[in-house]
């Protein structure tokens, strides 16, 4: 059974087609990354999945439970960490988590709440009002709230935005632990290195449409492959005509050209450069990362990779 399934989902806001006939599924136990530039439709998609938004057409289900018709089961199956840091300022951390447990019908959830507080380094703040917590701590409370009912599917909508490196590391350690215990994790992030490091499969959404849905390896292979970085003794005046189409950068003594992973021979390229009277002092191969592939597919710069 699919952890998450979308069939022909469309949503329009006035003149903006936020989601356009989106269909895909995420299997149980996957660590799935959902990427896309600003306003691509990622948050709309997550809101629709969580029942915060009603779509114009199409079906969405979580572990087989339809998000409209069987909303209770769908919501029990799903935990959502929202993108915005929101709190109810009246309550302490423990009160917040106990109320959240109660909304899911859980009467005695103290042990799991204690475990969450410990795992997320919040135990010493358990009886502190949420207003008095730092931004990072509030974000950890959001994660704990999403997990109070032990959902088999966890959606994290940019959970590490604005979080310091140390906290980010401990957060991912905990999320990885949940994944190893069988939880399905869906992640949107604008730290593409996070997606590259953590996710098994990645979907890229742009202008409300899925433009890629592949394993991380396949997606990386979709890129032109790698780049060859060459340094020369003297400033480079010209590049051999047969390589000119592939120049990424040519500045001073540095030349960067694209490499087709399965087609090119580095030795052959170096021979062509030598034949062009270049005195090569340094050669290095730089593999494409997810960021390069993302930019190639969406035409967006990494800094704006946010939804």
């Amino acid at each position: 059974m699919s952890a998450i399934k979308l069939e022909g989902v469309s949503k329009r806001f006035d003149s903006l087609q936020a989601l356009n006939d989106v269909s895909f599924s995420i299997e149980e136990g996957e660590f799935f990354g959902l990427l896309g530039p600003n306003g691509a439709g990622k948050s709309t998609l997550i809101s629709a999945l969580a029942g915060l938004l009603r779509v114009d057409s199409g079906k969405l289900s979580v572990l087989g439970a339809d998000v409209r018709k069987d909303f209770r089961q769908a919501r029990r199956n799903l935990g959502v960490v929202p993108q915005e840091v929101v709190i109810d300022p009246f309550f302490t951390v423990r009160e917040t988590l106990m109320f959240q447990s109660g909304y899911f019908g859980l009467r005695k959830n103290d042990d799991w709440v204690d475990e969450l507080l410990t795992k997320l380094n919040l135990m010493d703040k358990a009886d502190t009002n949420l207003r008095k917590l730092s931004g990072g701590m509030k974000r950890r409370v959001l994660i704990a709230q999403a997990l109070v009912h032990k959902p088999p599917v966890l959606v994290l909508d940019e959970p590490t935005a604005g979080v310091d490196v140390e906290l980010r590391q401990s957060m991912w350690k905990f999320i990885k632990e949940l994944h190893s215990k069988g939880h399905t994790i869906v992640l949107t992030t604008h730290y593409l290195e996070e997606a590259e490091e953590l996710c098994d499969r990645i979907g890229i959404i742009d202008q409300g449409q899925v433009i890629a849905m592949e394993s991380k390896e396949d997606l990386l292979a979709r890129g032109l492959g790698s780049k060859l970085l060459i340094k020369t003794r003297d400033p480079i005046k010209s590049v051999p005509p047969e390589l000119q189409d592939r120049v990424v950068r040519c500045e001073g003594v540095e030349l960067e050209i694209t490499l087709h992973r399965d087609q090119d021979s580095i030795v052959e390229i170096l021979d062509q450069l030598k034949a062009h009277q270049m005195d090569i002092t340094y050669v290095s191969v730089v593999n494409d990362n997810l960021q390069d592939v993302f930019v190639q597919m969406t035409g967006n710069k990494p800094a704006s990779v946010k939804g």
Binding site: G51, V86, P89, F90, Q100
Partner: protein, 254 residues
């Protein structure tokens, strides 16, 4: 019906207002007491609305009901608008709570706050003047019915409003005038004919008048009429509220 989830939301709402009890309970009790002191002192020897009932005694049920319904409205409306503006409404929308469970919890808390404030006003008034209770069931019945209706109206206002000042406008331009013109401080029979006729179209009048009957066994209109009008008003407002909740009006993007 997921009763435990509903009860949890109810308990959360109760905790919310009791944490700031000075503002949510004591302040309205004090306001009612001030009305009682000022109006009572000024008008006690000048006005007798019902035969054999002095003005201060007449005033107490009106002030009490006014406190009950205004606080029932304030509880549900402020809770809803706060959680919408601050974004914490997602914690209610993400769990498997049905719209009916949300309605029962919010309105239950609104009735509770209304009644708690009402009891506070009653206790203070009890020391200040003689307050007979002709029929306790009618008193409680009208208080619950009034706070149920106003809690529902508060929830509608909370869903509709996008800013705090819109709620304030709702309170100042609708609830407050209708309450003040509902016979809290006078009998509508003492009004000029046009205002008398207009008052008959004010549903708040029937809340106050029926409630007052429970204390004195006397009222401007027969208590059964007030009860039937109140029931109708309560059904209409609560139906609108539940329909809006089910449609996700300004809560879930449609």
């Amino acid at each position: 019906m997921n009763w435990f989830a509903c009860y949890t939301l109810f308990r959360k709402e109760i905790t919310r207002f009791t944490k700031v009890w000075l503002q949510t309970v004591m302040a309205p009790v004090l306001t009612s007491l001030l009305y009682l002191l000022v109006f009572g002192h000024v008008l006690q020897d000048r006005v007798e609305v019902f035969p054999g009932v002095n003005y201060v005694s007449f005033l107490i049920p009106g002030l009490l009901m006014m406190a009950v319904i205004q606080n029932a409205f304030a509880n549900s409306s402020s809770s809803m608008i706060q959680s919408k503006v601050m974004g914490s409404i997602v914690f209610i929308l993400l769990p498997p709570l049905s719209e009916l469970e949300m309605f029962v919890a919010y309105i239950g808390a609104a009735i509770t706050r209304g009644i708690v404030v009402g009891i506070g006003v009653f206790i203070l008034a009890f020391f200040y003047a003689d307050v007979p209770v002709h029929n306790g069931f009618i008193v409680i019945g009208f208080a619950v019915l009034g706070s149920f209706t106003m809690g529902s109206l508060g929830l509608i206002a909370g869903m509709w409003a996008e800013k705090f000042d819109q709620i304030a406008a709702f309170q100042n331009f609708l609830i407050m005038p209708l309450t003040f013109l509902s016979g809290v401080f006078y009998s509508i029979k003492s009004l000029p004919p046009m205002w008398y006729e207009l008052s008959k179209w004010n549903p708040f009048f029937y809340m106050i008048d029926g409630f007052r009957y429970g204390f004195f066994g006397q009222s401007d209109k027969p208590v059964l009429i007030s009860f039937l009008i109140m029931i109708t008003f309560a059904l209409v407002i609560s139906s609108v509220c539940i329909t809006l909740l089910k449609s996700g009006y300004k809560l879930r993007d449609n």
